[in-house]
C-alpha cells in the first residue's frame, strides 16, 4: 500500500532551552489515498499539533512528512496548498469577521489564478448545502453550523486531495454536528478525498474513520481499526479508559 501521506518520527517542539514544550514526540503514521484516518486524544495530547505540522503551521523539529512520496519543504510550496487543506475547529474564529462569504470563497481562487470564479463559488456553496442567498452574508449573520459549512466550502474550493479536519464539529450542537458529519461523509464518497480527522470524541472518530490512532502527552499510544474499536480489542489501558469514558456516566458504586 503506497501511502499518500507518510509521517515518519515526527517531533514538534515549541520554544527552546528549559522552556521548550515537546508537543509531539515521535509520531509515525501512514494514510492511504481515499482513506479516512482519525487521531483521538484529550487536551494536551498533541493531536491538533500533528495536523498543524502537516500544514506547516507548526515547525517540524525532527522527522519528516511525505506527501505522495515527496518530502515536504519548509516553507510549503504553492502546489502543496492545492493538494492539502484544513477545516478548523471553532466556526466562530475561522472566518474573517469583515469578509463576506463571497470574499472568503473567491480569495483562494484569486491567489491561485483560477478562472471561472463566479461559477466555482456558486457551485461550492451548493455542494455544502447552502444556497446562493448566503453568498454575500457576513459571518455574524450565519449560525455556527452555517459557518462551518462555509469553512468546508472554502477548504474544498481549491480541489485538494487531502482534507485535514481539526475537531470540525466539537463546537456545534449535537443535531448540527450530525448534519455536518453527514455532509463530510457525502463529500468524501463523492470526491474520493482522503481525510485526517482529529477529535476528542471516540464516537465521532469511530463513525467517520476507518483507522485511528490514540495519542497521549504527544506520543502515539495505539493504532486501531474501526472494527477493533467496536470489538473493544484495545491493547493499552489508556485506550480502554477512553472507551469506558465514552459510555458516559454510570451511577455504579466504585
Amino acid at each position: 500500500m503506497s501511502a499518500l501521506l507518510d509521517i515518519r518520527n515526527l517531533h514538534v517542539t515549541f520554544g527552546a532551552g528549559p522552556d521548550a514544550v515537546q508537543a509531539v514526540r515521535g509520531v509515525t503514521l501512514k494514510v492511504a489515498e481515499g482513506e479516512s484516518y482519525g487521531i483521538v486524544g484529550e487536551s494536551g495530547s498533541g493531536k491538533s499539533t500533528v495536523l498543524r505540522a502537516i500544514c506547516g503551521l507548526a515547525p517540524t523539529s525532527e522527522g519528516s512528512i511525505l506527501l505522495g512520496g515527496t518530502e515536504l519543504t519548509a516553507p510549503r510550496r504553492a502546489d502543496f496548498y492545492r493538494r492539502v487543506q484544513m477545516v478548523f475547529q471553532d466556526p466562530y474564529a475561522s472566518l474573517h469577521p469583515r469578509h463576506t462569504v463571497d470574499r472568503v470563497l473567491s480569495e483562494p481562487l484569486a491567489i491561485h489564478g483560477f478562472d471561472d470564479r463566479e461559477r466555482r463559488v456558486e457551485q461550492a456553496l451548493t455542494d455544502v448545502g447552502l444556497g446562493p442567498s448566503f453568498r454575500f452574508r457576513y459571518p455574524h449573520q450565519l449560525s455556527g453550523g452555517q459557518r462551518q459549512r462555509v469553512a468546508v466550502a472554502r477548504a474544498l474550493i481549491l480541489e485538494p486531495r487531502v482534507l485535514l479536519l481539526d475537531e470540525p464539529t466539537s463546537a456545534l450542537d449535537a443535531s448540527i454536528q450530525a448534519e455536518v458529519l453527514n455532509l463530510l461523509d457525502r463529500l468524501r464518497t463523492e470526491r474520493g478525498l482522503t481525510y485526517v480527522m482529529v477529535s476528542h470524541d471516540l464516537a465521532v472518530v469511530a463513525h467517520m474513520c476507518d483507522r485511528l490512532m490514540v495519542m497521549q502527552h504527544g506520543q502515539a499510544v495505539e493504532e486501531l481499526t474501526r472494527d477493533a474499536l467496536r470489538a473493544r480489542a484495545a491493547t493499552t489501558d489508556y485506550t480502554r479508559q477512553l472507551l469506558t469514558a465514552s459510555h458516559g456516566y454510570t451511577k455504579a458504586a466504585s
Partner: protein, 304 residues
Amino acid sequence: MTATLSRREWLLSEQPASRRQARLGQGYRTWLALRANPLAMIGLAIVVTLVVVALLANVIAPYDPIIGGDLRTERLLPPSLTHLMGTDEQARDIFSRLVHGSRITLMVVALVAVIATPIGLLVGTTAGYFGGWVDTVLMRVTDIFLAFPRLILALAFVAALGPGIENAIIAIAITSWPPYARLARAETLTIRDTDYINAIRLQGARPVRIIWGHVVPLCLSSVIIRVTLDMAGIILTAAGLGFLGLGAQPPQPEWGAMIAGGRRFIIDQWWVVTMPGLAIFVVSLGFNFLGDGLRDVLDPKARK
C-alpha cells in the same frame, strides 16, 4: 411579482444579493448605531459645520480677514451687530478671521490624519505580523519618536525647517504616528494567530495580501477611533505652535496665532482672545464626542 423593498429594508436585508448591497448594509447599520448616540451626533454636527464653514469661507465671512478697516475708528470694537465677534487690534473682523481660520484648522487636521495614519498602520502591522528582528527594529524606532514630548519635537522640526504652517503640519504628523503604530501592532498581535489568518496562510497567500486585506481592516477601527480622539490634541498643538509664532505666520488667521496676538488685550478687550479660544474648544470637543461615539459603535469590546 416581487414587492419592491423600501431603501431601508433593502439595506438591512439579512440576505444581501450583491457585494454592494452587503457593504452598504454594513455601513447603514453602523450609521444607525451612531445615530442613536446624541453626543456623537453633536460631535458629528460640529465637525460637519467645520467642514462646511471652511469650504464656504468666502461666502460666509462678511469682511476680509487680512485687510482691516479704519485703524482710527474700528480697532478693538466689542461684539455688535456689525461685527459679530468684535474687531482685533488691526481693525479686522474677528468673525471673518475665525471663518477663514477654520480652513487652516481643517487643513492641519486632515493632512496630519492623512500622513500619520498610513505610516502608523504600516509600521505597526508589519512589526506585529513579522515579529522577530523586524518587530524589534521598527518598535525601537517608534519608541524613539514616542519618547519626545510632541510639542518639543515639533518645535525642533519647525526650528530646523523654518516656521510656516506647512512645516508645522509635517512636524505634527511626524510626532503623531507612533501611538497609531503601537495600537496597530497590538491589534495585529491579537489576530496573528487566529484561525482565519491561519486559513488564508494555508491558501498560499503572501504576507502583503494578508496584512493589507486581512489585518489592516481589523486594525482600522481602533486607529480611526484613536485618530479622531487625537484631533483635539492636534488642533491644540497647531494652536500652540501658532501661539509661539512657529506655525502659521501673520497675517494668516490661524486660531492659535490669533490668541497669541490678542494676549495683551485679554483684560479689557476679552473678545480678541476668547473668540478663537472658544472656537478651538468647540471643535476639539466635537472631535472628542465623535471619537467616543465611534468607539461605542466600532469597538466590539465596548459594544453592549
